[in-house]
């Protein structure tokens, strides 16, 4: 009994000294943040999920918060987390393919749309209905991204972008034949401000105006150079991997850095001149004024000026959080850290963040 009391006092003392808890960041830790980082959200109390916790597979491609439940696209099917329980849905339930790469939820109807490696699936009223390139006008079965824009559902596929009108049930296909793309391979699509943006492999960003039904493109003024010759002159590279729009800002992810576009000016960010975890960015999601960046070396969050990056140690489940504002950089220990550094998907709702990685799913809570 006495031993336990001593141990408890020791743990509390260590906690007070380090300013971190073994369960993650705390709000008190936030007080030591670098100056100028503003209100950029910071997350701690990470909890990781793997197959051992109920996920159908460890490789998680996408995550989406849908009300009280969390939808996770894995290589082994759709995992749904609700009431602290995981439920898995697969091709046996009607999903087009178990490899689920993208998820979106229609604000209009509440339907869930799943972009998979073998087609597009609508989950409505508990029933899965699948569209493929064989049974519908959908461009291609390999779907990297899906977004609901009112009554339309847009997808980015290996064979062009597609727009499905849920009212008329008609598909439109956009490729290099009818849109300013370099080739039909598209990686990401997002919507906002009555426009749709498509990340087109080798073609930069394609903007579709819902009013005029016309396209325009944004390409790297430096051409195919792998360095950004003239900074902030446009999208940093033509090989774009993801786009996300929020609050008037378009964020463009590439494998060579990040771009931010406010409708007039472009700004580029790289790992060597910002707090970006890596130039190799798999995915970006913009929520409010912040962009959440999924890279091959961790997760970064930014408002365009300050950065918070979460990285996991190579040899254990701990890691660190790196806070960068201008030239100032600070690091803190994180225990546990995110599930894996190869981050593929992210979603944020209220004060909770969910992170899909190549080995497991992570849940963090906002601590500031």
């Amino acid at each position: 009994m006495k031993t336990n009391l001593i141990l408890t006092i020791f743990i509390i003392t260590v906690f007070l000294i380090t300013g971190t808890s073994s369960f993650g960041f705390t709000k008190s830790g936030n007080q030591t943040n670098a100056k100028g980082e503003g209100n950029i959200p910071k997350y701690g109390n990470w909890k990781n999920f793997t197959v051992a916790d109920g996920l159908p597979g460890n490789k998680a491609y996408a995550v989406r918060v849908d009300g009280d439940r969390v939808l996770v696209g894995t290589h082994e099917g759709l995992a749904v987390y609700e009431d602290d329980k995981w439920t898995t849905y697969t091709t046996e339930d009607g999903i087009a393919h178990n490899g689920i790469i993208a998820i979106d939820v229609s604000e209009l109807t509440g339907d869930v749309w799943l972009g998979t490696m073998g087609g597009l699936t609508r989950w409505s009223g508990g029933v899965f209905e699948s569209f493929t390139q064989l049974n519908s006008g959908m461009p291609n079965n390999l779907i990297y991204s899906v977004v609901c824009d009112g009554k339309d559902v847009w997808i980015a596929t290996g064979g062009g972008a597609g727009k499905y009108d849920t009212y008329s049930k008609e598909w439109d296909i956009f490729t290099e034949q009818n849109a300013p793309m370099h080739e039909p391979w598209t990686y990401s699509v997002c919507a906002g401000d009555n426009k749709v943006w498509i990340a087109a492999w080798g073609g930069g960003v394609i903007e579709y105006n819902n009013k005029t039904k016309h396209f325009r493109d944004y390409v790297d003024p430096d051409g195919n150079m792998e360095i950004d010759l003239f900074p902030d002159d446009g999208v940093v590279h033509d090989i774009t991997t993801a786009v996300s729009w929020s609050n008037g800002i378009l964020w463009v992810a590439t494998y060579f850095g990040l771009s931010r576009y406010d409708g007039v000016h472009w700004k580029g960010y790289f790992d060597h001149d910002s707090g970006l975890a890596s130039n190799f960015i798999n995915f970006v999601r913009a929520v409010g004024d912040y962009a959440y960046l999924c890279t091959d070396q961790g997760l970064s969050v930014t408002d365009g000026e300050s950065w918070v990056t979460y990285v996991r140690n190579e040899n254990n489940h701990d890691g660190k959080v790196i806070i960068t504002t201008g030239e100032q950089k600070s690091e803190k220990k994180l225990s546990p850290s995110i599930s894996h550094n190869f981050v593929i998907g992210v979603d944020v709702k209220d004060d909770v963040i969910w992170v899909a990685t190549s080995y497991g799913l992570s849940r963090g809570e906002r601590i500031n």
């Binding site: 339907d111 409505s124 009223g125 062009g160």
Partner: protein, 677 residues
């Protein structure tokens, strides 16, 4: 005898000889012609049967035919003094003085109106116009259509939210549900709602809306069918669940008990998994209702209204009495209302397990446990409505232009209100009655309408049980505007509808006496003159093709492929599918034969309104138009397509979806629109 008289006699004799010379060979020729057309030798030689009663257009056709009202659905005013009757064929709302049996007002609404709902204050009705894609809002005191609200494609069943802020509209052709904000007076949401839905009902507490489908999901032949009931959370206007009704389809209508403990759905249980020779074993179509228990873990079960040796086919409407004690189902094909004792039904539900009830879903004798009365009606009873005090049940007798009145206490018919339609029953009208009546089938088991709902097709694949069981299964074909599309059947063996519906029909399908010649004449007359294609408002409302459809038309008519090579004539779409019916009515092998098919060629089908006829190909193996080529196109056997991109195929499919009634096609238009590609 003078010379002139002799001349007169000679002339007379010559005329008689000539007359005889003409009469006997002429009669022989006529006999041969009629025998060929009817495929029997005994049909009376009446030229008028075909050459008068099968005229669909023109002044003579107008003289021969009549315009009927064909009441389809109805509502009752809050004080019970008036009926609001949807007259489908007239496109009118009829306001009837229910006490004095007098039509007070004719109000023109949209094309082919379907359903009606009355506001709580009784001052306004909403009417769905199925062939106009809109809702007519009628102010009852003034009798004026005050608004027309846009919907999806083919609006049918409608209901109001409990607070009457929203109008829910089932879009049958679009297979979705439109949510109209009645303050904004516009559609704010469109949700998927099964396949070919019509029925809709809101729970008494206003929290839940059910939408029942008519068509089943397309499944390969041999697999059990499932038809959807969509459940809407009316507090969020979002779909909360989709219930699958196994082995059933054609769920026309749905209704809650006043206490909200049960939802009842009219339905048909087709036995399409077995050859149709089973018909004399009571094994082609069964008719009944579904029950969805509203308690937690509530069951979905099915019960029959049929009984041994007697069927109550084509159940349409279902409605529960105000006191919740009885439910009424209109069986359109047998002119009967079946009455269900709800307490007896509850007892059955309490006593039996789901497994046991699943067994009794096929038991013709089980209906004695809850069916307490069969009430006769006029021809083709459709929509039902109760008076506000529940003492009267009103029945829309579609093919008699009357409203039947039934005393809900004695369960006896007490009156029939005449809508004032034509008194003369034309041949085509008689044919429609034959078409919709089950008396021509074994023990009233089904009608033409059963497999051809809305005169179209039910989307199922049947084994018509020819000489080889389990072979040559075929998908039901539409009957819309088939005049001019001979031959008939997938194998084209029937040169006329007479042959199709004559003796072979009774031998193969109805398993009872063949239609009498007058009935057969009438039936053929109706099929060839009275069945129209709905306008293609979804894909071609004006006749002006979209850019994609225009590109598709060029592909349809092209002579050269994408590489500049000439396409062989038999590889061009337009060769076998020329306007106006988009068929050359020749036999072709397009590589679609299945292992279970005999080696035959198929009659080239016409393509007008083809977008409504999924699944495709003779055995329904192609779920969508795309699959005709992506899965079953083979080595360019069904047209030259393997050079096409996915975008080209989409354009072609979009063009095919734009095809409308043949009446819009003309040789002149064909020449003007001919592609230069």
């Amino acid at each position: 005898m003078n010379t002139s008289r002799i001349k007169l006699i000679i002339v007379g004799v010559v005329i008689i000889i000539l007359g005889l010379l003409i009469y006997f060979p002429g009669r022989k020729l006529a006999r041969g012609h009629v025998n060929y057309m009817t495929a029997v030798e005994g049909h009376p030689l009446l030229c008028t049967n075909c050459h008068l009663y099968m005229l669909a257009e023109g002044p003579i056709a107008k003289m021969v035919n009549k315009d009927y009202y064909s009441p389809f659905n109805l509502a009752v005013s809050n004080d019970g003094s008036q009926l609001y009757v949807v007259a489908q064929d007239a496109g009118e709302l009829l306001i009837i003085d229910a006490i004095n049996n007098k039509v007070q007002k004719h109000i023109q609404v949209g094309n082919h109106p379907h359903s009606i709902v009355l506001t709580t204050d009784g001052k306004k009705v909403f009417i769905s116009n199925q062939w106009s894609d809109n809702i007519s809002v009628v102010d009852l005191p003034s009798g004026i259509v005050t608004d027309t609200l846009k919907t999806g494609n083919g609006p049918s069943g409608i209901t109001l939210s409990k607070d009457e802020k929203y109008l829910y509209v089932v879009n049958t052709f679009g297979s979705d549900l439109t949510v109209i904000d009645l303050i904004k007076k516009q559609e704010v949401k469109r949700l998927p709602a099964g396949f070919d839905p019509t029925g809709i009902s809101i729970s008494p507490n206003g929290e839940k809306v059910y939408v029942s489908s008519r068509r089943a999901h397309v499944v390969p032949y041999g697999e059990p069918i499932i038809t959807d009931i969509m459940e809407l959370d009316a507090t969020k206007n979002q779909i909360s669940e989709v219930h699958g009704m196994l082995d059933a389809y054609l769920m026309e209508n749905i209704s809650f008990t006043p206490s909200g403990d049960l939802a009842l759905i009219s339905l048909i249980r087709p036995k399409s998994l077995v050859p149709m020779v089973q018909v004399e074993r009571g094994w082609m179509m069964n008719h009944g209702f579904g029950v969805i228990e509203q308690k937690e873990n509530g069951r979905i079960i099915q019960l029959l209204i049929d009984e041994p040796n007697s069927y109550y086919s084509d159940p349409y409407d279902i409605i529960v009495s105000k006191d919740g004690k009885k439910a009424f189902i209109s069986s359109s094909a047998v002119n009967t209302i079946s009455v269900i004792d709800i307490d007896a039904l509850r007892k059955v539900l309490d006593e039996y397990t789901e497994k046991e009830l699943d067994f009794y879903a096929n038991d013709l004798a089980f209906s004695k446990n809850y069916i307490i009365k069969r009430i006769p009606t006029g021809s083709c009873p459709k929509g039902l409505a109760l008076s506000p005090n529940g003492s009267r049940l009103y029945v829309a007798e579609q093919l008699d232009d009357k409203i039947g009145v039934i005393d809900t206490k004695t369960l006896e018919p007490i009156a029939r209100l005449d809508l004032g339609g034509p008194k003369r029953i034309t041949v085509a009208r008689r044919g429609r009655q034959v078409f919709s009546n089950a008396s021509g089938t074994f023990q009233n088991q089904y009608t033409c309408y059963t497999c051809h709902p809305d005169n179209h097709e039910d989307g199922l694949v049947y084994n018509m049980a020819g000489k080889d069981m389990g072979r040559n299964v075929t998908n039901t074909q539409s009957l819309r505007e088939i005049n001019g599309t001979a031959p008939f059947k997938w194998n084209g063996k029937n040169q006329t509808v007479y042959k199709q519906d004559g003796m072979r029909f009774s031998t193969v399908l109805t398993r009872t006496e063949a239609f009498s010649f007058p009935d057969l004449d009438a039936l053929v007359s109706y099929i060839l003159t009275g069945i129209k294609n709905p306008p293609n408002l979804l894909y071609n409302p004006t006749g002006e093709l979209t850019a994609s459809q225009q590109r598709g038309k060029e592909i349809f008519e092209r002579k050269v492929d994408n590489f500049g090579n000439e396409i062989p004539e038999n590889g061009r779409c337009v060769t076998c599918h020329p306007a106006p019916y988009f068929s050359n009515f020749q036999f072709e092998d397009v590589g679609s034969l299945s292992e279970s098919d005999d080696t035959i060629k198929f009659d080239t089908p016409h393509l007008n309104n083809i977008f409504t006829s999924a699944p495709y190909l003779h055995d329904g193996k192609a779920k969508t138009l795309e699959e005709i080529w992506t899965l079953y196109g083979g080595q360019d056997q069904h047209g030259y397509v393997n050079d096409m991109t996915k975008m080209d195929l989409n354009d072609l499919v979009n063009y095919l979806k734009s095809l409308r009634s043949a009446k819009y096609e003309s040789k002149k238009e064909k020449v003007l629109n001919a592609s230069s590609r």
